[in-house]
């Protein structure tokens, strides 16, 4: 275990755009991460171990649904606060951030936006505190980028629904108390159902063999004639737009999270370059190393500006899905490129678990694929500017 020496870099004095409360939230999250997560994260990653004991702590720092109103156990915070929390978590590990993103944006968000009052009261406070964990089932074995083609479906059986089908690649699923499952009704319209752990015919086996997001648990959701009570259907919205609106919220968080991963790689590379001596000089004195470092801080700064502006637009209710796609795509690519360059600056040390770089790099391979792949987001921008969809 190496000590977490992370220092944040703020090249364009972005902190001046933040409130004192934003900074307090960020500092508290950063201190918590350094104290509770940094010392164990390499080990969790190596052993493919999900650090379940951290869930209450994540709840305490407000990482679960910070923008959910206080009456439901949230903190009623703005979108910048949510972004800063995701940044601090992913600064440590994308898996840690994934757990919090899924819980906040893909589980609590749909229950808050589309759930009944009873559903909100039953689920949100326990999810906010980390007592319960939730997951989001959209992707299926044969439907990833094209979720609208899903085959999971439910039938009305009088006083309950009967759900059949399977979901795959579901973050948090094996240990979740509740799954927000997207499935088609008899007319083919998509609805959200709250499927609870222990319902007969419902299983969530863990998926193994990931080389990425190893500190986050991923599994399937299998529904074999599951009887779902009618009060577990999300009444507020149906159609593909419902799950997509949740993805907007999660992708926005990922855009911030990716900056965290990039900041960690840059900070580590900058320090290493100043300390590592070759040819009797710190390697930071060589132009090729400086080019890498200069480009990294430039890209991070651009991403910070993009994301802060997007946060403001979201707070004003004006951010479009396409704008969010642009930020997710740009920032994740930025982070993965910085991870690769930072890896090179660290030389051989960069491939070891002494440094977080290789872990970030492997993690970001998932982040660039989930919540809409890199190319799909490009097509969304393409459609937005031309008015012509090029998906199918």
């Amino acid at each position: 275990m190496s000590t977490d020496r992370f220092e944040a870099h703020d090249y364009y004095l972005m902190d001046e755009l933040l409130t004192e409360e934003h900074k307090l939230i960020r500092e508290a999250a950063r201190a918590w991460v350094k104290k509770e997560v940094s010392p164990i994260i390499e080990d969790c990653f190596e052993k493919c171990d999900f650090p379940k004991h951290l869930l209450p702590g994540l709840g305490e720092i407000g990482a679960f649904g910070p923008y959910i109103p206080e009456e439901y156990g949230g903190a009623g915070l703005d979108q910048i606060s949510y972004g800063l929390l995701m940044q601090e978590l992913e600064r440590c590990d994308s898996g840690l951030r994934s757990t919090a993103s899924v819980q906040s944006s893909l589980v609590m968000y749909p229950i808050w936006k589309y759930g009944s009052e009873e559903q909100k009261k039953k689920f949100l406070p326990k999810l906010a505190s980390g007592e319960w964990l939730g997951c989001f089932g959209l992707t299926e074995p044969d439907h990833g980028s094209n979720p609208g083609g899903m085959v999971t479906h439910f039938k009305d059986a009088g006083d309950h629904y009967v759900l059949n089908g399977a979901k795959m690649w579901i973050s948090n699923s094996p240990i979740s108390q509740v799954a927000v499952v997207w499935a088609k009704d008899e007319s083919g319209r998509i609805h959200g159902l709250l499927v609870e752990q222990g319902m007969e015919g419902f299983t969530a086996p863990e998926m193994h063999g990931k080389h990425s997001l190893r500190a986050s648990i991923t599994g399937e959701l299998i529904f074999d004639n599951v009887m779902v009570p009618k009060e577990n259907l999300l009444p507020g919205r149906s159609g593909l737009g419902a799950p997509l609106s949740c993805l907007d919220s999660a992708r926005y968080g990922i855009a911030w999270g990716a900056i965290g991963a990039a900041m960690d790689c840059y900070d580590s590379a900058l320090r290493y370059a100043q300390e590592r001596i070759q040819f009797d000089k710190p390697i930071a004195s060589f132009q090729l190393i400086q080019k890498k470092l200069a480009e990294m801080v430039t890209e991070i700064t651009k991403a910070q500006l993009l994301t802060h502006r997007l946060g403001t637009l979201r707070d004003e209710g004006r951010a479009t899905s396409a704008q969010i796609s642009m930020a997710k795509r740009n920032n994740v690519e930025m982070a993965i490129n910085i991870a690769r360059e930072a890896r090179q600056i660290h030389g051989a040390m960069g491939i070891t678990s002494e440094y977080s770089i290789m872990r970030h790099m492997a993690n970001l391979e998932s982040v660039i694929t989930y919540e809409g792949t890199h190319d799909i987001h490009l097509l969304i921008t393409g459609m937005d500017v031309t008015g012509i969809p090029a998906f199918s």
Binding site: E7, L13, D15, E20, E21, K23, L24, I25, E27, A28, A31, W32, K35, E60, I61, G62, P66, E70, A75, G76
Partner: protein, 246 residues
Amino acid sequence: MKLLVCISKAPDTTAKIAFTDGNTKFDENGVQFIVNPYDEWYALVRALELTEANGGTVTTITVGTNSDDPTIRKALAIGATDAVRIDAVPKDAYYVANQIASYAKIHGYDIVMTGKETINYNGAQVGAMIAEILDQPFVSLATKLDLQENTATLERDVSGGVEIVEVSTPFVLSAAKGMSEQRIPNMRGIMAARTKPLQVIEPVASEELTSVVSYSMPDSKAACKYVDAENAEELIHLLHTEAKVI
């Protein structure tokens, strides 16, 4: 139980240090401030532990301007009941101690707690001066504090061992490393801090007994020189002629 904890801000340990006004003032421009760690980690957190166990209130007090408010809010987020800021630029230790003691005299506290020093000025004088002005006992550099009714038992690190001190309330202490552990504010605390009272009051008239003539930076660190383990002669020569320590 009524506890008063003195809170001051200190530059973040990564801050770049510079001076202004002809090297008589620390340049606060662009500097990130934190709660002075000795005030926060040891004095404040121990005060909270005591009131959580036995009931009571923890008030923080700061002599400073509104640029201190973020650090005061953090203390409230960690759990203090309320806060007082005496609206004045802290000039010297006596000035600060006089302000705090004047307030404490009126409101009456069982224990007034300070950190052992601030990490920027390292004066370590305020606590003792408050005690003197209040005419109360003072225990400096306490590493442990327990309370039974009105009797406090404190530990202090002394050369080669530990000194155990007993004192009756009311008294003043300065807290050193070991008294408690860092407490990270949680989201509930941060939200509660929004509405906790932060009372701003005018300073009492007070003189300052000292003034700063100038600050200067320490010499920048020279590069390390490596001497072969076999070559003791060269090491002695360098220690004698270059480092001038032998």
